[in-house]
Symmetry: C2
Subunit: 323 residues, 2 copies
DNA sequence: TGTTTGCACATCTATATAAATGTATTTGTT
DNA sequence: AACAAATACATTTATATAGATGTGCAAACA
């Protein structure tokens, strides 16, 4: 399948850029396909051959996860509609930046940021208004003269200089030729997401603690004093957070599928630098699966507060790493 | 100009439907073009030859005004893109229903609601799932049989019955033919707006009182104890509200333009059933212009609280109507 | 270990929308 | 009344997006 080929290429690029990359999420339901970290930069990557396939629910979940864990959602693909993604262009899908592998490579490996963004009406470049104005002044060219030379209205040039309008690629090339200098502002892919966060979405997190989760066990964890962000499409049921620790939280009975999931959670938790915990309904055969700590529901019942649980997790995790 | 022709036709339709219609707003900046009321139904109409020309700011203002005054925003036009608006179809522009004059006529004069809505992908009709299911059961047809008869998948029929999917017009016609009954749900134009209000927008109004307005005089009115919704594109500067009264609020120096504005405000206030007040910076030649009460800024300074101002407005308004 | 169920995702289509911009009209100024 | 400045709005274009739906794979089930 094309998507798998893409994923392998993406892993290659990210590793080459010095990222630590998690296992691929191949368990349903899934929101992101890969987690990756380099220093302070944490990415949640979704991969689609056709970026138009991103659905709104998935986007929402990726955004809230990224925000909660201090990372960035990003969409990587090859096509939009019936054409290939253009390199060095940033597209947006539900406020998540979307790009081709080549653009990803340029950005993270070569440190060459893209200049062009796709928007209704075509492809556009942001112009640095101050630079433009200065350049125009330097050759003492009037606004009107530049406008007629470019073949646009005076008002348009004025808007460029005030930073109130982006320009089409042709216009920018022509302008740069006339003034013989670079005018395009480069796009910071990760920041472009932050800007897009509208006040309403941000609002949700203003409240001190999230509302109690619906799930029984998650609610129990909430009662212990954790902030619990439950997820619908991630390989874990929730992310739980208190002042001292954060852990991915799985919940289910012991089964083969559960073990698979615990492996994946372990890999992801290593990348995003959190603990990983699986609450088992009923009996568990083991105490951990890789770095995922398994806790039986009965054990959870005997726990008084968040500190107790933190301690249990740490001990069990240490015990595993000690062998 | 085409827009003016449209407006006259719209006024004709609305009056025929028993609406009281305000003067046309021909002062810039303007958000809506007409206010109209029939019984409890208050409309703020925007008219554009091409409905695509509605801009986001204008839409926002119309929505907040409508909400604040218990009315409905509506957009009426003739074209979208390069084609005429189809009759009996409801379009949406920034969550405001948009329709042709014919559709307006059918809805308000003939009481025939539209059935079709425009959405990405084309024109769609909502199906009443329960009716569909019952009809299918009645002729003891299996879901699969109906699906293959229609030429769609079983899943599609299932979604129709669960009300989770709208159907294209062709499909609905074919279905109604097979089952020999009406299945389409009619669209309540005004309600369709209410549903679109997202929680974020609604949230703004949750706060007991609005934030203080920037304008000096509006802020003074706010200090008196009024709730003040300031506007940017309406023929008045704000709408002020306390427990006992609501008034359109204009602010400016005395001038010809101001008198024109006061006339328009008078007409609008009659339709939306509020008072209308103009605060004059400096000297005013008159005490009222039609039903708009003129108050000098100095007079406002001598007023202690909202009750005082309410009293002044009522007296001056009565005095006018008494002559 | 097949069988069933349901999601992921690709794809197609036509609408909704943002940029860009010219033109006509209105407003404000002298 | 004449002129300048600002705004409304029509229009063009290409992207963003929602519906609709088939296909194939994964999970759940028997």
């Amino acid at each position: 399948m094309t998507k798998d080929i893409l994923i392998h290429q993406i892993i290659e690029v990210l590793e080459r850029a010095g990222f630590m990359v998690s296992d691929q999420c191949n368990i349903r339901p899934r929101s992101f396909d890969l987690a990756a970290r380099q220093g302070n930069t944490l990415l949640f990557c979704k991969v689609l051959y056709n970026i138009d396939g991103l659905n709104e629910e998935t986007a929402r979940e990726m955004k809230s996860l990224a925000k909660y864990l201090n990372g960035y959602p990003i969409l990587i693909g090859a096509k939009t509609r019936d054409q290939l993604l253009e390199d060095s262009v940033v597209y947006m899908r539900y406020d998540i930046p979307a790009l081709s592998i080549q653009t990803l490579y340029d950005y993270f490996v070569e440190n060459v940021p893209p200049l062009v963004s796709a928007a209704p009406g075509g492809l556009y470049v942001s112009i640095d208004g101050d630079v433009l104005k200065e350049a125009r002044m330097n050759i003492s060219m009037s606004l009107g003269a530049l406008a007629s030379e470019l073949g646009v209205s005076r008002r348009t040039i004025s808007k460029y200089e005030e930073g109130k309008m982006d320009a089409s690629i042709d216009i920018v090339l022509h302008l740069e030729e006339i003034l013989d200098m670079a005018l395009a502002k480069s796009i910071d892919i990760l920041r472009s997401f932050e800007k897009e966060l509208d006040p309403a979405t941000v609002n949700e997190d203003t409240s001190e603690r999230k509302t109690p989760p619906n799930d029984n066990i998650l609610n129990l964890i909430y009662t212990l004093g954790y902030d619990v962000l439950s997820t619908k499409q991630a390989p874990f049921k929730a992310v739980s957070k208190d002042t001292s620790s954060t852990f991915l939280t799985g919940v289910s009975e012991y089964s083969n599928a559960m073990v698979k999931r615990a492996h994946l959670m372990s890999s992801i938790s290593n990348v995003i630098e959190t603990q990983s915990v699986f609450i088992i309904e009923g009996k568990s055969r083991y105490k951990f699966v890789e770095d995922t700590v398994l806790i039986e529901r009965d054990e959870l019942n005997n726990i008084a507060d968040a500190d107790d649980l933190d301690t249990l997790i740490h001990e069990r995790s240490k015990r595993h790493k000690g062998e």
